[in-house]
């Protein structure tokens, strides 16, 4: 992993179009600003990971276990 030291207000470029800026450092938190092109989604890693796992689990579904007629509340 590339490790770079930056101060608040300083930025990092990922290629020509994606900018990561350290906005503020406060105690153990760092506020980061990200300016990325439309084609590059940005996620918090823990959310991305949990959704990825959930998608993979959903994709394991066997049509046989999905009930055709369900007790629906409405």
């Amino acid at each position: 992993m590339l490790i770079i030291t930056r101060r608040p207000g300083e930025k990092i470029m990922l290629g020509d179009d994606t900018v990561i800026e350290v906005i503020e450092v406060s105690g153990s938190s760092v506020r980061i600003g990200i300016d990325a092109p439309r084609s590059l989604p940005v996620y918090r890693e823990e959310i991305w990971r949990s959704v990825k796992e959930e998608n993979a689990a959903a994709a394991q579904a066997d049509p046989q276990v999905l009930p055709n007629d369900l007790p629906v509340s409405k």
Binding site: I47, K52, A59, Q60, D62, L66
Partner: protein
């Protein structure tokens, strides 16, 4: 014009061009760019989001409001603009379903709904509070049954 889908689950299915949904960013962690929705009937509780690029890739989805009356999807304005979503009215909202052997273990991912609008699909991160990744699908039904 149509596309022929060879599905490992459902065999050969003809998909009309207008039923092809383009996911420019794919599904989170799964990729894929062209999908379609398959359902047994118009009012089926579950529909399948089936990849047109991978014959084995399909996820069951459901209409979240069928199970979660007060479900809300919140997306920041700039995110909606990024995705080209202008109004909620013509955007269909689905959530992925984790199936299981028994109904009590079924869950839906309320955190990352799938929005389909005008032949374009996106899986987005819902900013609303109380949108768990694994919300039990049948707990509300069970509560009603217990109350009855």
């Amino acid at each position: 014009m149509s596309v022929t889908l060879q599905s490992t689950r459902f065999g050969e299915v003809e998909i009309p061009d207008e039923a092809v949904i383009d996911f420019p960013l794919g599904l989170i962690g799964l990729g894929g760019s062209r999908y379609t929705l398959l359902a047994r009937s118009d009012d089926a509780a579950f529909v399948w989001l089936h990849s047109l690029d991978d014959p084995a890739l399909a996820l069951p989805l459901t209409n979240p409001w069928r199970f979660f009356d007060s479900y809300e999807v919140e997306i920041a304005d700039d995110e909606a603009e990024r995705l080209g979503i202008e109004s909620d009215d013509d955007t269909a909202v689905y959530v992925t379903v984790r199936a299981a052997e028994s109904l009590e273990d079924f869950s839906a991912n309320l955190r990352a709904p799938i929005l389909v609008n005008n032949g374009l699909g996106h899986q987005v991160i819902n900013q609303a509070p109380d949108a768990p990744v694994r919300a039990p699908l049948f707990s509300t039904v069970n509560e009603e049954e217990r109350a009855a």
